[in-house]
Amino acid sequence: MSSPLAPSRPGTHPARRILPPGLLFALPFLVLFALFMVWPLVQGLWMSVTDTSLSVHSPSFVGLDNFSEALQDAEMWRALGHTVWFTVLSTVPLVVVALGMALLVHTGLPGQWVWRLAFFAPYLLPVGVVSLLWLWLFQGDLGLFNQLLNALGLDSVAWLSDTSVAMWSIVLTTLWWTVGFNFLLYLAALQSVPDHLYEAAAIDGAGAWRRLFSITLPQLSRITVVVTVLQILASLKVFDQIYLLTKGGPDNSTRPVIEYMYDVGFTGYRLGYASAISYVFFALVILASAAQYAALRRREK
């Protein structure tokens, strides 16, 4: 597909017989990769050492000023804290509840497609739909949750406007929305546990709970690790639902670091500073990945 793109990277000339066919095959991907992954990474680094802004004035070099400002920026650390806090709060339920659901569904009781639909369908909803829906559920006077609370004689809760409750509300929404994915992974794993293990245990007279703890859970330990790692990495990147539910409020008490980057760059026009923050975020992701990789290696020893 043609477009007025001028790739500045070498080695992307039209194919000639000199190029090995293998390279030709990989070329489209490599071109896109260079254009939309490598170039932006480099450009982001460049922007982070300038004061690029949304305005039409040309940027100038500022060295490491953006980075030093970022590391001293209390608001940025707060935002990083929110991201980490969200990850901590959401990972455990998203793994445990998914496991519970999968175990229950895997028992093979009739009605399989109902459970699957109920638990997984929310995952297919775009975040826009999820947030509109839960904004309505959490609504102060008319939302379902407060209506139910009032019907039971309890006080309404300021789900999204009380700083001590807001993050929990977001976690709840996220749980509803994405647990289906982990649920599926667990279900697939459960189905591959060999039957003969269970049969042997049954012959030995082991009860259901014994079988669960001695066979099923140990067999699931690998997939649990995978699910947890995936979940942590995904939670660190959170933006969509927090932005749509609370815009980072109330009083910026739920603003994750990605939203802070967005606010600084696009609302505050300071694209250079935002780039610096994005690299700080990248460092966090690398750190988390490295830590998990190290933990994995130790386990396997």
Binding site: L30, A118, L125, F181, A188, E199, F239, S278
Partner: protein
Amino acid sequence: MTSTIDPPLPRPKAAPRSPVIREVAARRRRAEARRAHLSLGESRTARVLTFTVLTVLALLWLLPAAWGLLTSFKSEQDASDPAHWLWPKHGFTLDGFRSVWERGELPLWMFNSFLVAAAVTVITVAVSAMAGYAFSRTRFAGRKTLFTVTVAAVLVPPQMLLVPWFQQMLTLDLLDTYAAVILPQTVAPVMVFILKKHFDSLPRELEEAARLDGAGHFRIFWSVLLPLSRPMLSAVGIFVFIGAWNNFLWPFVSTSDPDLMTLPVGITSVKDAYGVQYAQSMASAALAALPLVVVFLFFQRHIIKSVATTGLGGQ
């Protein structure tokens, strides 16, 4: 870890057509029954308890969407009436849907979403399959390095590329165009990794036979390996399509023009000129949810398979 995902769905009412299929189905049912037996034991109470818990959980999980759906069929007046919050005083109506549809933006946003998601899927699958094949089955200078770089790139969160992508599109004067929304989403190192592993796992005999017949790389790829890979490719394709359809952040940043917005961005950015209307809001949410839910209802098995296999390759 790989496994053939075979969700033990009981076959629906339609009678199977041949004795073989009937036997397979019967065997599956026995396996299911045995599994239930294995997990729960003979105890009736255990069964009933599990069933109850599952039902309660499922109801809880269906409740939010059901509530939203209920609201979308109310009139605006009833939707904001705290006294009659369950059953609308004035009965049900399609007014919310009608108003939202007539505003004219929703069909356009659906079209945009479809266009973008389809384009991203086609390009990503094609490009990643070719690259996966190249890394798996061919040799060229720098192949190993390039592949390592690709795998390393899986670590890069797309969120951190937001600002440079924006700046890039600004420089190329592509902001608020379809190209800007589509192109960055086509780079999927994870899919290249998955497809390379997949091609690695295919037996080489067919290729060797084809090569003896004089087929070049392209013919081998197109005529031999691709047909064998149809399930994997559709799994990848479905996963990419769902991701592209539901993608919010980049379309949100790259489009300010409401005519170009995709569905998730449009329904949350553009507000009705007449204030917060809950019934309409829920109607637009329902309409926006419809496409993928419908697809899911019909392609359940494929989607589940796709998510389970590609999901394991990384998010």
